[in-house]
């Protein structure tokens, strides 16, 4: 079964590599007339990573005795990497549903300010905007931010599509290949998730104030992890963005 898991990962890598090399270039080169398709292409390298992360979520969920249906339903309905891993970690540690839900809500609370930042660029009335808001992922959001705080709605929606597909399919494959569960750590797959956000960080960072915000956020997160419940360090560290209230340009 271990070999099976490796094969799947190798296969994923093989199929995606050409598209990926291309995708990562388009992102950095083009800034002008981006559309849904450009978003899809920019989302591809991240979709591959999401697929591997989903695979490890599937194997983890299965090893916790969740069966086949529940993890897949969870991924299709929620599509939230952090929230789903949090629920798995909390329930897996023997805590109840309330703690699991609280952790997941705290982790996803970042979508409140993200939603506010995206809101002016979405189309239609409140209902349509609420629906379009569902396509916001941390990755797609970070990818779709252009120069001077502009935000490309179509690009974001496009970038979400391949990631959503990878997340649901990857979960299903992980659930079915659950025997490799113990090897998620052995294969170093747990390092993929932070490396993934690191890649986004490198794409988006620019200007002295962004670097200052990054440094403050890092210090806050490191300081809070030992003392605060899951989710709180991320929220509090995001407060480093309040640096933007200070006058002057970056």
């Amino acid at each position: 079964m271990l070999r099976f898991g490796l094969l799947i990962i190798a296969g994923l890598l093989f199929f995606a590599t050409p598209a990926l090399a291309q995708g990562s270039q388009t992102v950095t080169v083009e800034r002008g007339g981006r559309d849904y398709l450009a978003g899809v292409r920019a989302g591809l390298p991240f979709a591959l990573v999401v697929g591997v992360v989903a695979f490890s979520f599937g194997t983890l969920a299965r090893s916790l005795g969740w069966g086949v249906l529940a993890p897949i339903v969870f991924s299709v309905a929620t599509f939230s990497v952090t929230a789903q891993f949090a629920v798995a970690a909390v329930l897996g540690a023997g805590s109840g549903a309330f703690t699991a839900i609280a952790a997941a809500v705290l982790l996803n609370a970042r979508f409140l300010p993200i939603g506010v930042s995206v809101a002016p660029f979405l189309k239609g009335g409140p209902l349509r905007r609420a629906l379009e808001g569902q396509t916001v992922l941390t990755t797609s959001w970070a990818l779709a931010i252009g120069a001077e705080g502009r935000f490309d709605r179509a690009f974001m929606i496009g970038a979400t599509v391949p990631q959503y597909v990878a997340w649901t399919v990857g979960t299903a494959i992980g659930v079915l290949a659950h025997d490799v569960g113990g090897s998620v750590e052995m294969l170093g797959l747990d390092a993929i998730f932070p490396a993934f956000f690191m890649a986004l960080l490198f794409r988006g960072i620019g200007g002295r104030r962004a670097i200052a915000a990054t440094a403050i956020a890092a210090v806050l997160a490191v300081a809070l992890v030992p003392i605060a419940p899951p989710g709180v360090p991320v929220l509090a560290a995001s407060g480093a963005a309040l640096l933007g209230l200070k006058g002057g340009s970056s």
Partner: protein, 103 residues
């Protein structure tokens, strides 16, 4: 319903509500410049926090293990302008090798 299904339903509904809140409440108008300045810094701050918690854990204590080596390798690769995919694969590879030989 089991704790698992309660969690799945509740987290799904809560996530959808959280994602809908901003677009409903703040939609249809431009944000004031101060708010935009804060939101522009939200990306690096938030991503940094996710990198830190993802690398060192959120289980109530900081865990410095092989994963930090892997993520560090990815950071070096990205600083040298490596593509996303290469950096991420490197993170997994270095972590796995470190666990194999150091663990």
């Amino acid at each position: 319903m089991s704790a698992l299904w309660v969690s799945i339903v509740a987290v799904t509904l809560a996530s959808a509500a959280i994602k809908a809140a901003g677009p409903i409440l703040a939609g249809g108008r431009e944000l004031p410049p101060k708010a935009s300045a804060v939101l522009a810094l939200l990306t690096p701050a938030l991503l940094t926090a996710l990198v830190v918690t993802g690398t060192f854990g959120e289980g109530g204590h900081l865990e410095l293990d092989e994963k930090a080596l892997g993520v560090g390798a990815a950071a070096v690769a990205l600083a040298l302008r490596a593509p996303v995919l290469l950096a991420v694969v490197l993170a997994a590879l270095v972590t796995a090798l470190a666990r194999l030989f150091l663990g």
